[in-house]
Amino acid sequence: MTMEASNTRWLDYAPAPESTSILHLKKSYGLFIDGDFVAGSGRSFTTISPADEHSIAEIASADAGDVDRAVAAARKAYNSTWSKLGGADRGKYLYRIARLVQERARELAVAESLDNGKPIKESRDVDVPLVAAWFFYYAGWADKLEHAGLGPNPRALGVAAQVIPWNFPLLMLAWKIAPALAAGNTVVIKPAETTPLSALIFAEILQQADLPNGVVNIITGAGETGSLLVNHPDVNKVAFTGSTAVGRAIAKSTAGTGKKLTLELGGKAANIVFDDAPIDQAIEGIVNGIFFNQGHVCCAGSRLLVQENIETEVVDRLKERLVTLRMGDPLDKNTDIGAINSRAQLDRIRALSDIGEEEGATRWSAPCEIPAKGFWFAPTIFTGVETSHRIAREEIFGPVLSVLTFRTPAEAIAKANNTPYGLSAGIWSDKGSKVLAVADKLRAGVIWANTFNKFDPSSPFGGYKESGYGREGGRHGLAAYLTNAVLQSGANK
């Protein structure tokens, strides 16, 4: 037996790439309208792999006429088929979709990592299993809407226009489609232009599931297509996940139209570490909070608030831990940090990081070998960050952590809430009473205690302030797709 590992580190582990042979991609993809793939009339574009910039497939772009056709197909399906089906039958289709997602899980995971740049271990162990879980969960609600505590006789809204981001392409699709269909709506959805691939494979799954034509229509294109879709006069509901700027524009343009609107926007979550925290687990939680999915997470714990007496220790341990993160080929099963999704996003991360340095914060990046091709950014920590710094206020949406300190719980709460956002927060302490007392005062939609970035279909998700409004997930997520829905809780305040 040969021993080659003598002068390299064993920790560098030999490559363990996931095979792409399971993927059977077409050279080009059309729009999925009324149950079939049809040509788009807009200018088609190429989707690339952010890890090495190679072209994956040619993608159609929907123009105004295509959007009209897609909305008309959804309207027709709503009137003629979907609204006539009983809840149990709608549930049957959703269960079928969930099972097909499980059957084709590996294929979906490979496609997602290829197109998005996220590590295969995340798409395989997090994204795709959650996609199936979301469909299973809402399948169960389809025939129980009257018992969901949303008031008497809740009814579907009609056609839902949905626009989703590139950070969790298939998972965001599931978050949108599953509750919409369970509640009896039909859907026109637009995936992000940099990550359309998994949605198009999902369209094949819908065909496989025999979902009636037009119930789900998937149209691809850039921001303009999304704008045409959400502003289409014949949609009853708009659901958007993405940037606060676009969300604000949608809120303006839909105001007064009678369209029901939910927005899930940006965040600048505080991850609060008290000095009585379980320290090793807190370090893992900080890593998971900001470096999971390259920090392309709206609820990422991008502001670390650490109690000042343990700041040095936490930062030292964090750096030690970051050195063991493996950046590289997203399809390698040992990759922890994948590629940044696009050049545009990489430019933004670089620009904000440079600003961080200019403003006087101290930058440290994990020593990673940056591949020659593709879009990459090493995990980065800023210490000495002040609350007034832009890196402490603006969403970077990348693997960049700003470290701030606090002295008392009151100061931690004040700093955590001092943001235009309010999507999520984390608290690390071994003392339960402290966790509950602090959680009670944080103005954020999701608060994790001694964990971070954990998702479950039964748990509502959504933000305060500029992080958006409406809730996705759980019973609350159904309310966004039903009329007469009265939710007896503070979620929509």
Partner: protein, 331 residues
């Protein structure tokens, strides 16, 4: 029964350096109770994450040989005989007679009365150590003089390493000082006539400690009292070694190294039977304390059936096909 807080403890140098010269039951307790807590969910999630590493080709080949080098090949049965020990030693020296490039294991681990047979069978300069379990293994339920005699006997017979058990009853009832003093005394019993010491591994029996917080405290206690290694289990209690417990003990060892620059060994024992499982442990060691710990001086597997599975995997890597249980020797 109350525990006398002001009782002075045996003056172990590590504890004095860290806690101070007035080492008492109380100062030891304060130190152990001041350690940060362990979040069980987070610890287990981290261990599971480390378990998903995919180790292939050259990395796997290196891993398999490394596992063999780290094994304490063990037989701890009431039915052990000199012949059984002799056969174990033969296996330790030549794990795979069909491939003489196979490395030797780190040590053979036997009961105290079997040490002379193991020493004799190994002969001089084998590179394989003899480890003896002592201190009324596995329960530890004997008086201190008996435990010390047990230890001295094994050392006198030529044991290179002593695997002692802590008094779990005392630990769980809060008598940290008593556990501490016993370890210090056993360490002293490891002293040979020439002034050198047999290597001391302290078995915590984590399966009886119930909480991860207890495992962390017991690990610190064992190190403070002078242990060279901290070891999970006797193998006689379920659960024996688990990946989360081993990860936690490695974190303690890493923290001790950060604090003092001194390197302490870790030995998971019991329940690790497959190469696949053992590789997860190697990954956990490398990514927690660093690759330098993948050395018999700092990491061991206490195992009996693991070796044969590693040999089968090794043969598969060499020949490209799976053989079967008849192509490795039983010992």
């Amino acid at each position: 029964m109350t525990i006398e807080q002001a009782v002075a403890l045996a003056p172990a140098s590590r504890a004095i350096d860290l806690i101070g010269g007035d080492l008492t039951e109380k100062s030891l307790r304060l130190h152990l109770e001041g350690l940060p807590g362990v979040d069980a969910v987070g610890l287990e999630a981290r261990a599971a994450g480390l378990g998903t590493r995919s180790i292939k080709t050259t990395s796997k080949a290196w891993a398999l040989d490394t596992i063999i080098r780290l094994i304490d090949l063990t037989t701890l049965e009431g039915a052990d005989t000199p012949g059984k020990v002799q056969s174990l030693v033969a296996k330790a020296m030549t794990p795979d007679p069909s491939d003489l490039t196979t490395p030797r294991v780190a040590a053979v681990c036997v009961y105290g009365d079997m040490v002379p047979y193991a020493v004799k069978a190994l002969g001089p300069n084998s590179g394989v150590n003899v480890a003896a379990v002592a201190t009324a293994f596995p329960s530890g339920r004997a008086s201190l003089p008996v435990k010390l005699a047990d230890t001295r006997d094994a050392v006198a017979a030529g044991a290179d390493e002593i695997d002692m058990v802590i008094d779990r009853g005392a630990f769980l009832s809060g008598r940290y000082g008593m556990v501490f003093d016993q370890i210090v005394a056993v360490k002293e019993a490891c002293r040979r006539d020439d002034g050198t010491y047999a290597h001391l591994k302290v078995i915590l029996e984590t399966g009886e400690l119930n909480t991860y917080d207890n495992v962390r405290r017991a690990s610190w206690l064992a190190i403070l009292a002078g242990g060279d290694f901290i070891k999970t289990s006797t193998g006689k209690v379920a659960p024996a070694a688990t990946l989360p417990v081993t990860l936690l003990m490695l974190q303690v060892v890493r923290d001790w190294h950060r604090l003092t620059g001194e390197r302490i060994g870790v030995k998971p024992a019991g329940g690790i039977r497959s190469s696949k499982d053992a590789i997860k442990y190697l990954v956990t060691v490398a990514e927690t304390v660093g690759e330098e710990w993948l050395d018999p001086r700092l990491f061991r597997f206490g195992a009996s059936s693991l070796l044969n599975d590693v040999l089968l995997q090794r043969q598969k890597m060499t020949t490209g096909r799976y053989s079967g249980p008849d192509y490795v020797t039983i010992d």
